[in-house]
Amino acid sequence: MTELAQLLVDWEAVIGLEVHVQLATASKAFSPSAVQFGAPPNSLTDPTVLGLPGALPVYNARALELALALGLATSSRIRMTSRFARKHYFYPDQPKNYQISQYDEPLCEHGVVDMFIGGELRRVELTRIHLEEDAGKNTHVGATSHVDLDRAGVPLVEVVTEPVMHTPEEAAEFVRALHGLVRWLGISEADMEKGQLRCDANVSVRRRGEDRLGTRTELKNINSFRFIQHAVEHEIARQLRLVESGGRVERETRLWDAVAGQSHTMRTKEEANDYRYFPDPDLPPLVVDPAQLDAIERGLPELPAARFRRYTRSGVGADEARTLVGERALADYMDAAIAAHGDEASAKFIGNWILTELLGALRAAERDVAASPLPPATLAALVRLVEDGTISGKIGKEVFEESFRTGEAPAAIVARRGVQQISNEAELGTIVERVVTANQRQADGYAGGNDKLFGFFVGQVMKETGGRANPVLTTALLKKRLGR
């Protein structure tokens, strides 16, 4: 048992997450500058982004649509009239020295996100999802600091969970689930390396059985799935060592240093900002049009959790189903293939073909599933050829490879190459008879108890038929002919 596991016999960790997600809009949250990653520093600015005197914000209608899609997809209660507030703190990456955010009247409350723990779905309650704007970036070169405001004003949603997670794995899974969901909805690229999805974690510990929450610390700057798990684990261990040795956890904000693999104090409670929130007088209340909300709801895709349930009900294994719903394009491919195939009962078989052959071929070709050269209907047709015994699974893989490469229809490949499986009992029986007759010595050996020789006969039949013999039928006929 690790040190942490030992401590966790008596103690319980409580984790809540705050995840910032950049919304994939063309322009910024409150002004017309373009949103783009990696543009030359300070090239995506305008008077509003720069916080120039006299410049004013107007909220991006597209950003609202995207945020509403997330609100609906998380079954949140949508506040039809929400409000922007100013959150004040001085920092050079924020030219107005306040951030436009939402405070006591956020757009969404009481939603849920379904995440996977093992093969099971688990529901995580959300406190709120609110709208805000991103800050720019400071870089420090020696004694000089540079400010790049390209990211300033990019629209964000902040997703805040209830403190309902208890392990570092759960925390990481939640972020994976949210990441998957926003990409599924097409509302964010959510590329963590580009900072399009960023995570802060609130961590506390308490004795098992205790209802009250312990003093929490806030961990900032944990920006990969791996770091989340590592940083939370590290923080739980740090707090437990503290309380076990009679110390006390201080309310503070800690910065995670991924390189050093540890966190350090960023600011203590005493240094905490008073953000002096108040409703932004430049922005009237944000009113959601019910008709627009209905339209967004109607346009929502089936969500990953629902699709996971549908696949597992059709017989797909939990692990496979989870992989299939890990990406919208992959799951859409799966659905299209099932539809083209026509029989939901074949879902498991189709899924296996997608997860093994298709993903392998795509990886080798360095292509996305959305750009697969082999369309779902073609895969479905191929699967049918295998299922109805026209070709063997082994030949099927060859046909798949050729169709993937050339685009030729599987049936055409099978016809051209003459690789239809021989499933005709009379025809295959004649071949079996010929093979056994020609190898009487081995037949005697097998009859005398040398089991290994059975494989020899299968090989001979395959050789004779160019691999086209139906393996199940071949086995049955050989057993019958060889006498056991």
Partner: protein, 490 residues
């Protein structure tokens, strides 16, 4: 127009003279530039004179006319702008050292509209720093003198714009009004000043003081000129989320000279203790003049009036403390030298860059918004604000406009208001209009025995600027200053 253009000519007359070729825009601009050179050393109305830009603009108007191209309604008319209106390529300081040297890369919406109408930007006028003041004494740069008596203030915060109009240093001007900053100096300088309905003129490109109260408006020598300017600058702007989408009335056409049947309310709270006797008498004459012309004079009450001042001095400083956070010396404006770290950079820059009144209001506002006190101050003040709005809404059931004094006293001497609260009390008649978002107009209605102008204030329903201008036109004709000019400049 003869060989020397009349500096007191109306906007209409100047525009017409240029359009008909009777005068050139160049001559008009040169005449005003000459007058500024001669008189403004003493008056101090301008912080910056846009001589080169104005001449270039005038030349362009003259060329357009020579080529028979269509001219805008204000083509060649020289307008002065309060220095909190952002002007592309022209320094904009808002009367503060902290913005010294800032050359904006863009024009605000009102400025854009003025330029589109053919107006010439003559220069930027002095003001109380960030609009925080009622005398223009709080400018970080210079004093502005009242053209009627140069030992007195012009009012404020748009004191430079009011003095420039009164002294004939421009055809008209724009100011901003957060708690009376157009109407009060207009009254003290004997000119017409209008604060439009909140949202009628875009705030895009207005250096913010208190965002929920700020509004741009005209200062002019006649009601008609004010109406023409308002027509030019009003209208919906998608860049200002608080801008109103309603169509803009034809304000000049509304000046029928008729008030028959108009119900004019006299709110008793505006005629109480502390009102100067001469102003009280002038307002009585004004009401009588309206009555004689068929208006119905009605006594009304706005019971929450006394709470406007304290509510204003919570809301405006709270918003200001937020709006002025951006002045940190990082990207623009003045930065304190030799700061050892970021915190020192902020405190030294802001410590040196802001004047005492600005610091006072930032501190007031910061206090009002701090955690745990929001409900007791800011929220409470907003509730008072709602009560004040309701008072007015109730009044509109029985009257069409309200007639009040603009100020409790005429222009005072420099340094006369010893404490900040003395200064704040000068705004008691103008604040409520901003809190309720209503249009307000100040029109000259006579002079004191000492020769100081008196302003009558008309308050109206939201977006009913036309009625205010119509009634204001009647007051101007009946009890206005006529051809009387400020002594100091005649």
């Amino acid at each position: 127009m003869s060989s020397t253009p009349d500096p007191y000519a109306s906007v209409t007359a100047t525009a017409r003279a240029i359009a008909t070729g009777e005068a050139t825009a160049t001559r008009v601009v040169d005449a005003y530039l000459g007058r500024i050179r001669n008189l403004d050393r003493e008056l101090g109305a301008f912080l910056a004179v846009n001589a080169e830009g104005a001449r270039a603009g005038a030349a362009a108007v003259d060329r357009a006319r020579a080529a028979n191209e269509p001219l805008g309604p204000l083509a060649g008319v020289p307008i002065a702008l309060k220095d909190n209106l952002v002007t592309r390529g022209l320094a904009t300081t808002a009367g503060s050292k902290i913005l010294a040297g800032w050359i904006p890369p863009y024009d605000g919406d009102a400025v854009t509209r003025l330029r589109a109408a053919g107006a010439i930007v003559l220069g930027k006028t002095n003001m109380d720093e960030f609009g925080m003041g009622s005398s223009t004494e709080r400018s970080a740069y210079q004093k502005t003198r009242n053209p009627w008596d140069t030992s007195r203030v012009p009012g404020g915060s748009s004191g430079g714009s009011a003095a420039a109009v009164a002294a004939g240093l421009c055809a008209a001007s724009l100011g901003t009004d957060t708690g009376g900053s157009i109407r009060q100096p207009a009254a003290m300088c004997g000119v017409v000043g209008m604060k439009p309905t909140y949202g009628r003129v875009s705030r895009y490109g207005v250096v913010a003081y208190a965002s929920s109260l700020d509004q741009v408006g005209p200062l002019a020598r006649s009601v008609e000129d004010a109406a023409l300017l308002l027509s030019a600058i009003a209208g919906h702007d998608p860049r200002d989320a608080t801008s109103i989408a309603a169509p803009v009335d034809a304000y000049a056409a509304a000046l029928t000279g008729e008030v028959a049947g108009l119900r004019v309310g006299l709110p008793r709270e505006y005629y109480g203790e502390g009102l100067d006797a001469e102003i009280r008498a002038a307002l009585a004459r004004t009401a009588e003049a309206l009555r004689e012309r068929g208006a119905e004079i009605v006594d009304v009450s706005l019971p929450h009036t006394a709470h406007a001042l304290p509510a204003y001095y919570v809301i405006a400083p709270a918003e200001a403390s937020s709006n002025l956070a951006r002045y940190d010396g990082i990207r623009y404006g003045t930065r304190a030298p030799d700061a050892p770290d970021l915190l020192a950079l902020y405190s030294k820059t802001r410590g040196a860059g802001f004047g005492p009144e600005v610091k006072r209001r930032i501190m007031l506002g910061t206090y009002a918004l701090r955690a745990g006190y929001y409900d007791a101050y800011y929220k409470k003040a907003q509730q008072v604000r709602a009560c004040i709005s309701r008072d007015f809404a109730d009044a509109w059931a029985t009257v069409d406009v309200l007639l009040t004094p603009t100020t409790p006293a005429p222009a005072f001497r420099f340094g006369a208001k010893a404490t900040p609260v003395d200064m704040y009390l000068g705004d008691i008649y103008t604040l409520a209009c901003n809190l309720a978002g209503l249009p307000g107009l100040s029109v000259p209605c006579g002079l004191t025995a000492g020769g100081l102008p008196i302003g009558a204030q008309l308050l109206g329903r939201p977006l009913d600027e036309a009625t205010l201008l119509r009634a204001g036109g009647v007051i101007e004709a009946a009890v206005g200053l006529g051809a009387q000019r400020p002594r100091a400049v005649s």
